[in-house]
Subunit: 328 residues, 6 copies
Amino acid sequence: MAAMERPSRRFRPVSGNVLPRFAGIPTFMRLPHVNLEDAADDIDIALFGIPWDGGTTNRPGARHGPRQMRDLSTLMRNVHHVSGLQPFELANCADIGDTPVNPIDLEDTLARVERFVGEIHAKNITTLAAGGDHLVSLPILRAIGGDDVGMVHFDAHTDTWDRYFGESRYTHGTPFRRAIEEKLLDPKRIVQIGIRGGLYTPEDKEWGLAQGIRVIEIEEVFDLGVEGVVREARRVVGNGRVYVSFDVDALDPVYAPGTGTPEIGGMTTVQAQGMIRGLRGLDLVGADVVEVAPPFDPSGNTALVAVTMMFELLCLLAECHGRFSKKS
Amino acid sequence: MAAMERPSRRFRPVSGNVLPRFAGIPTFMRLPHVNLEDAADDIDIALFGIPWDGGTTNRPGARHGPRQMRDLSTLMRNVHHVSGLQPFELANCADIGDTPVNPIDLEDTLARVERFVGEIHAKNITTLAAGGDHLVSLPILRAIGGDDVGMVHFDAHTDTWDRYFGESRYTHGTPFRRAIEEKLLDPKRIVQIGIRGGLYTPEDKEWGLAQGIRVIEIEEVFDLGVEGVVREARRVVGNGRVYVSFDVDALDPVYAPGTGTPEIGGMTTVQAQGMIRGLRGLDLVGADVVEVAPPFDPSGNTALVAVTMMFELLCLLAECHGRFSKKS
Amino acid sequence: MAAMERPSRRFRPVSGNVLPRFAGIPTFMRLPHVNLEDAADDIDIALFGIPWDGGTTNRPGARHGPRQMRDLSTLMRNVHHVSGLQPFELANCADIGDTPVNPIDLEDTLARVERFVGEIHAKNITTLAAGGDHLVSLPILRAIGGDDVGMVHFDAHTDTWDRYFGESRYTHGTPFRRAIEEKLLDPKRIVQIGIRGGLYTPEDKEWGLAQGIRVIEIEEVFDLGVEGVVREARRVVGNGRVYVSFDVDALDPVYAPGTGTPEIGGMTTVQAQGMIRGLRGLDLVGADVVEVAPPFDPSGNTALVAVTMMFELLCLLAECHGRFSKKS
Amino acid sequence: MAAMERPSRRFRPVSGNVLPRFAGIPTFMRLPHVNLEDAADDIDIALFGIPWDGGTTNRPGARHGPRQMRDLSTLMRNVHHVSGLQPFELANCADIGDTPVNPIDLEDTLARVERFVGEIHAKNITTLAAGGDHLVSLPILRAIGGDDVGMVHFDAHTDTWDRYFGESRYTHGTPFRRAIEEKLLDPKRIVQIGIRGGLYTPEDKEWGLAQGIRVIEIEEVFDLGVEGVVREARRVVGNGRVYVSFDVDALDPVYAPGTGTPEIGGMTTVQAQGMIRGLRGLDLVGADVVEVAPPFDPSGNTALVAVTMMFELLCLLAECHGRFSKKS
Amino acid sequence: MAAMERPSRRFRPVSGNVLPRFAGIPTFMRLPHVNLEDAADDIDIALFGIPWDGGTTNRPGARHGPRQMRDLSTLMRNVHHVSGLQPFELANCADIGDTPVNPIDLEDTLARVERFVGEIHAKNITTLAAGGDHLVSLPILRAIGGDDVGMVHFDAHTDTWDRYFGESRYTHGTPFRRAIEEKLLDPKRIVQIGIRGGLYTPEDKEWGLAQGIRVIEIEEVFDLGVEGVVREARRVVGNGRVYVSFDVDALDPVYAPGTGTPEIGGMTTVQAQGMIRGLRGLDLVGADVVEVAPPFDPSGNTALVAVTMMFELLCLLAECHGRFSKKS
Amino acid sequence: MAAMERPSRRFRPVSGNVLPRFAGIPTFMRLPHVNLEDAADDIDIALFGIPWDGGTTNRPGARHGPRQMRDLSTLMRNVHHVSGLQPFELANCADIGDTPVNPIDLEDTLARVERFVGEIHAKNITTLAAGGDHLVSLPILRAIGGDDVGMVHFDAHTDTWDRYFGESRYTHGTPFRRAIEEKLLDPKRIVQIGIRGGLYTPEDKEWGLAQGIRVIEIEEVFDLGVEGVVREARRVVGNGRVYVSFDVDALDPVYAPGTGTPEIGGMTTVQAQGMIRGLRGLDLVGADVVEVAPPFDPSGNTALVAVTMMFELLCLLAECHGRFSKKS
C-alpha cells in the first residue's frame, strides 16, 4: 500500500550524454524544476536558492548567488568518486526554485523565507539551500531547528555577534546568536570550524564560548588535520539531529574570492571536502551553502566550489534520507 | 468550438514585483519553461537556444550564448517604451529550452536543429532563436525557409563565403551561400546591413552581389541614416515572407565584445534598435540573434544587448502573429 | 571687513606636478579632506559620498561607489578646457568625507543622510554628492529641497514609481515620487532626460506626466540634439532654484557598465557633457551623480565617467557660487 | 638590370585559409618575421614595436603594447573594404621585431630607438611603429624627422608640455615640444585632432598655439565632422612630407580603455577611420600608433582597435610607397 | 667528419639582459622560430603548439592555448634551480611553430597533426607539445607511440571513456582508450595521477582498470605524498620508453582556472613539480601539456603554470636526449 | 611639562560599527591621515606608501600598489586572533601618506624616499612601508639601515643581482646587493625565505652565498616546515636589530597574482603568516610589504593578502615598540 502512495514521478538529472552540460536551462544539478505544491509528495530532498543579501554589512552581491550556482552546478555528475554514493538514486531530488524574498525589507524577507521552508519541512522534505548571505540560515532554522538540533558550521567567522550600529539585531554576523537565543540550536552541540581573522575587541570570542560552542580556529584545524577535526566534530554533535552550514569564506579566498567578507589564511577545498565526507552517517536535518557573491568572481570558480560542496552534502543527505526513511 | 480548443494555458513572464529580477531560474524573458510536446497547441511564439559553435573558425564560445542570454533576459519588461507593443499580450510566448546539439559533430548538429525547428514550424509556431554561431541559421532556414523568403540580415560579414580550408562547406562564414544554393532564401529579397572589415581577396564581395543581394556596407549605413536604411530594406524585402537574422558583430565591438569575429567601426545599439523598429509590419516568419560568445564578455553586456534585440524582435513577431493570425 | 571674516584656509587640489596623480590618499579631485565641523566657515562647496545601496532592487554595489569615484577623480585637473572655468579658484571646495549610513537599515540611513546634508545646508554650503543608489537623492532633497526647486534629471528611468512588492515606498525607483509628494520639488519645473527601456505596464508613464514633469525620452533626445535638449531643459526649469541629479544609467552601458539597472541605447558621454555645459548660468542649489556600482566595473571606467560629470557640474556650481555670492 | 636585383623575397601574410588566424606565432599582420640586416634590401615598409613606457607619468603598461597588438593583428586581412587598397601587394611589408629598449633607463632607450629607426631609414624603408608610450615618437622623429616634416596628430593631449616635476624634460607629455625645439617637425604644418580634458593651468594651450600648431579640439571635431576635419588637416600639412602619430587616447575610452591617460568624451573609431582614410594621397614618411597599455584592457579590444588603425595607415603608406617609389 | 656536419646552428633563448622579457615576438622559451624543413638536422627537441579544441565537450578555447603559452613562456629562464639542469645547453631546442589544424573538421585535424608529428619523429627529434585539448595526444601517439610505450598521465580525468552522444569515438574524453585499442600505449605501463570528480556511472572506472592501468586518485596522491607517488609511478612505467601527458586540470582550479573541465580538490603546483622532477632519468620519448583555455583565464596565470611545467619537462627531455644520444 | 604629557593625540582606526568598512576615505587600517610635520611627536609607528615602480624590469604597476592596499586595508580589525596583540593600543599608529617620488627619474626618487624616511627615523618613529617595487627597500635601508642590521626577507628572488643591461645598477633585482655593498645590512644576519624559479646562469646564487646570506629555497621551506624555518631564521638574525622585507611574490601566484615577476610553486599565506608570527620578540627596526601591482589583479585579492601581512607585521612592531620603548 505504501508503495502505491510513493512517488509516481522519479526525478533525475538530465544526462550530459543527451544534452551537453553547457546547454539547457540551468537548474541545480540539472534536476527537474518543479513547483513545491505540485510535487511535494514526490520529493525527498528539495534544493532551492535564497537570493538575498540584505544582512550584508560589507560587500553585497550574494543575492546573485543562487543563479550562478545553478549555472555551475550543471558540471556536477551522478556518483561520488570516493564514497560511491549516488544521491539521485538514493533519494528523489528536485529544484523547487527560489524562496520569496524582498530585496529591500529585511524583516519581510525573514518571514517569507521561514514560511517557505516551513512548508517544505511540513511535508517531511529535507532542505538543501543555496544562499544568499549567512543571515538566511536564521529563517531556515526557525522553520526546521529546535533545541535538539546541533550544527557543524564551516566559516571564517562565528556569526554570533550581537548588534551592529548599536541597534541592528539581524545581520549576516548575528544569525547564530539569534538562533541560540531563540532555542533553534543547542549551543553545546555546535562546532565551528575554520574561524579566523582579526577581532573587533578581545571579547568577541567570549559569548559563544560561554554558551558552550566548540570553536576550532583555523590554526587548530591545521594542527588536528582533517581526521582530527572530523573526530572532534562528531564528538561535539553526537547522535542527535544535526544541521550543516557551509559559508564559503571558511575557505581561503583563492578558492572563494566571490564572497562578502574574505579572510586570508583559510582552509583548502581538499580539507573541506574531507571534513564533509567525515560527517557521513550523522542524522542530518538539512544544510546550506552560503555567501557566494558573483559580482566579486565573474569567473564562476567560487560558485563551482560552492556547488561541489552542495554535491558532497547532497550525498550525505540522500544516504541519510534512505537510512532514516523520512518518507515511507 | 475553435475557442474551446484555444490555449487553456496563458504564458506570461514572472513579475519583477513578485520575484525580483535577479531571482529564480532564468528562462528567456522570465517566461514559463515548457516542453514543446506538452504545450504546442498553446504556444504562438517559441523562444529557444541553439548552444553550439561548431562552425566557428576563430574564437569559440557561442555554445555558451543561450545560457548567458537567458540570464540577462530577466532584465526585460513587458511594454515597448516607444511602440507601446506588449508582446506577451499579443501572443502566447514560451521558452521551450534548447535544441539538441552535438558539440563535436557538425553534420549531426545540423540535422538535430533542423528536426527540432521543423517540429515547431509544423505546429504553426513562430520561432525566435538565440545562437550559437551563425551557422545555426542554416538548419533553421532548412526548416522554415523557401524561395519565397526574404531576409533582413544585420552583420559585419556577408557569411556567403564558399569554402574554408579547401573542403569545408559548412562554417559560420557560409550559411547564406548554402541557403541560397538550397533555395531556402530568395537572394533578390535579401538585404545585408553593416558589412565591413578587411577582405581576403577583392573577389569576396562578388558572389553575393551576383545573386542580387543588396549589401549596405557600414559606410552606406552611416550615410543613409536609420530612416534611409529602413526604407531601402523594406524596398528590398517587399511584402512577402521575411526572416530576420541579427549577428551581434553587426554592432561595434564596444557594444558586443563577446563575439567570435569582432570588427571595429560598427553600428551603435541605438541605430540597430531604430532599424529593427523600422521593420514593423513586415510579414515575419521568424528571427534569430546569434554569435554571443560569453567567455569573451563575462560582464554580460553583450548578452544584455542581444536579448534587448530579441525583445525588439519579439514585439514585431508578436504583432505580426496577431495580424496574420497563424492560429485561430 | 568682509575680508577679515573670509576663509583663512584656502583649499586647492594637490598638484600632479608635486605628487603624481596615482599617489597619495584619494580624496575627491585631490582636495583636502576636512571635517565639516572644523572647516564649515571656510567651505563654499562640499563634495561628499553617500556609500549606500539599500534602495537597490536589482544589482547592488553602489555602496562602493564613492570610494572608486574618489580614486578615479584624482585624474581630474583644474581648468575646464571649453569654458575655461576654474572651479577651485571660483570657490573653496573640500572633500568632507562620507555621510553616515547604516547598510542594513533603510529608514535609519535616510535620517542620517538628511541630518548630515542639513548641517551642510545650514551653513550655506553648496553640496555635490556622489552616490550611492538613486534613493540617496531623497534625503538630500529633504535637506535642501522645497516647492520652489526645479530639477534637471538625467536618467534611463523616471524613478517615480510608487511601490515595490506592494508595500515598500522607498526604493531607488521611487525617490522623485516621494519628493514631489513631500513638496521637495516643483514637478512642473522638472525635466527628465534620457528615459528609455521597457515598461512594466502601459501606465508607468502616467503619474509623472500628470504632475507636469517634462519627460524627454532618449528618442527625443536624439531628435532634438544637444542644443535642443538644453533649450527645452532651460525653458522648463526657468530662473528659479534648480537641482541636478545625474544617474549614470542615463548613459549607454558601454560608458557606464558599472551600474545597477543598465538599459542599452542610451546617450553618449559627449552628449551628456554637452547638456551639462548647457546648464551654465542656472541658479543651482546642488547636484549629485549616482548609481556607480564598482563590482560591475572593476576597470573603473564607469567611475571615471562619473567623476568627470562631477567636474563638469562643479564648474557650474563654482561659478554659480560666485555669482549668487552665498557667502560674503 | 636594377629591377632584376629587386626583392628576391616577397613577403605576404600567412593565409587564414591555411593556418587559422588564432594559430601560429603572432607577428604584425601575420607577416614574416625577418631581421633587418638580412632583409633590408627586400623591405619597403617595416612594422616594428617599441615596448617601452618609461615616459609614462600615470598608468604604466604600454611596454606590453606591441605584443598584444601583434596578437590581435592576426585578425587583419588583405584588402581594404572601402578603398580596395591591398597593402601587401603594393609594398613588401615585414615585421622586423621590436626596437632595443632599456626598461629602466630613459635616455639610453631614446638613443637605442633612434639608432634602430635610423638604420631603417638609411635603407629607405618606411616605418610603421607600434608603441609604447608617446615619448617613443621623439626618437623616431630624431631618425626620420626634419623641419620639412608636418604631422597629423590624433590625441586627447597636445603632448607639448615643457617639464614635469620641475626638471624632467622627457615624458610622454613632452615629445612634440622637444621635436619642435629640435627642428624635427615644422610646427606650422602640425595639426592636432581630438584634444580635450581638463587643463593644469589656463596657459597649457599657449605654447603650441604660439608655434603655429593648428589644434582641433574634440568639440570642433564634432562640429566640423569627419570631412571638415580632413579638409582642414590637409590644408595644414599641405604637400610636403607628413608623419602621422595616432595616440589611442584620441578615441573615447570605451574604444580604448587600455591606455595610460584616458579622457572621456573622445572620438569614435568610425570617425578616426574616416579621418585616416581622408589622408590618402599625402606624402607620408611614416606613422605610429601608441599608448596601448594591455594591463588595463586584458580583453584585447584596445589592441584590436589600434591594429586596425595600423592597417588603415598601412594602406596609405603602401600606396604612397608605390607612388613616390622610394626604391627602384 | 660526420661530427663536423653536426649542427652548424646553435639555438638558444634570447637573453632577458639584451631584450627585456616582455619584448620581442613571443616564441616558446624565447627560442628561435625555425621551419622544420630548414632546421631538422640541427634540432634535438622541437617545441610546438597544437591550436585546436575540436574534441572539447564542454568549455572550448584550448585552440588559443599555444599562443598564450608562448607569451607567458618568455618568463622562463635557463637553469633549473633545484636540479641545476640547463636544457638549452644539453640539447638544441627550437620552436617550430604550430601543427596544421582544421578548426571545423575533427578527422582532418587528427590526420594533419599525426603527419606533422610523424615528420618530426622521423628525424629523430624529441617532441614537446602544447595543447590544444587532450584529444591532441592521440595523433601524437599515433606518430610516436607503440605497444612498448608507457605513460605518466597527470589529469583529473582518465580520458578513457568510450563514446559520446552514442556515436562519437573521438573527444577529449577518449584519447587514451583509442590509443590503447590502437596499441599506441601499453596499458600495464600507464599510471594516471590526480583522478577525481563525480562519475557518470559506477562503471566509469572499470574499463581502464581492466586494462591494467594504475590509477592513483587524488586522495591516494595526498596519502602517498609526492615521494610515494613518484615511487609508484616509476614502478609502473619501469625502464622502457615513456610518454608524459600533463593535463592542467590535474591541478586544482585555483592554479589552472583556464581549462575546459575544471574539478575542484586537485593537486598543487608544488606537488606537480615534485612529481615531474621525480621522473628524472626515465627514457622519455616525448611530452605534452594540454587543456589551457585562455578565454577562461585572461590573466595568463594558467598559461604561466603550464609553461613552467613545460620547462620542468624540458629539463628531463634534454637530459634524456644527452644520455640516450638520439643524434650523434 | 608639556613634554611629559606626551601624545596629546591618540590615533585609532575608525570603527566599522560607526562607519561601515566600505565607507570613508581609505587610509591604512582606517587610521587617521596626518602630516608628519604636525604629528611627529605623537606617532610611534608610521605607515606610508611608496608609489613607484621605476626599478621594475618586467611587468610594471607597483606604483598603484599603495592606493589599492589602503583600500583593502579597511577590512583589517583591531585584535590579532591568535596572539591577542592589539597594535593600536600598544602603539600610536598613523597613516602619513605617500613618500615623494618621481615616476620618471630613478635616482631622484631614491633620494626623495631616503630623505622622507630619514626624517621619520630621525624622530624615532618605526616605519612600516607599502611598496612600490622592491627597489624601494634600498632608500629605506639607506635611512634606517646599518652594518648591525639583519634582515628576514621573504621573496621568490634573492634580489642580489648586480647589473641589468650591462650598466644599470639600480633595479628591483639589485637592492640587497647594493645594501650590502653600502653596509646597510649585515649579510651574515640575512635570511632569505622562499627563493625559487629558473636561474639566468648557474652562478646566480654564488654572490649572496659568498657574503654569508642564509638562503632557504622553497623546497627547504617545505621540508623544514613553518616551525623549522622560524627556528633557522631566528638563529640567523640573532638578537640584534632586524628589518623585515616581504615581497608578495614569495607567495604562490594564486595568492598574489598582482605582482611584477610571478613564480609558481610558492608558499601559502598560511605558511607566511606562521613565519611572521614566529618572529615575535625580535628587535624589529621596520618592515615593508612590496611588489603589489594592481593592474594585474583588479580583484584586490593580492592587496588583501599584502595588507593582512602588514597587519601581522604591525602587531610585532607595536609590541616591539612597547618593549624597546623608543619614545618615553
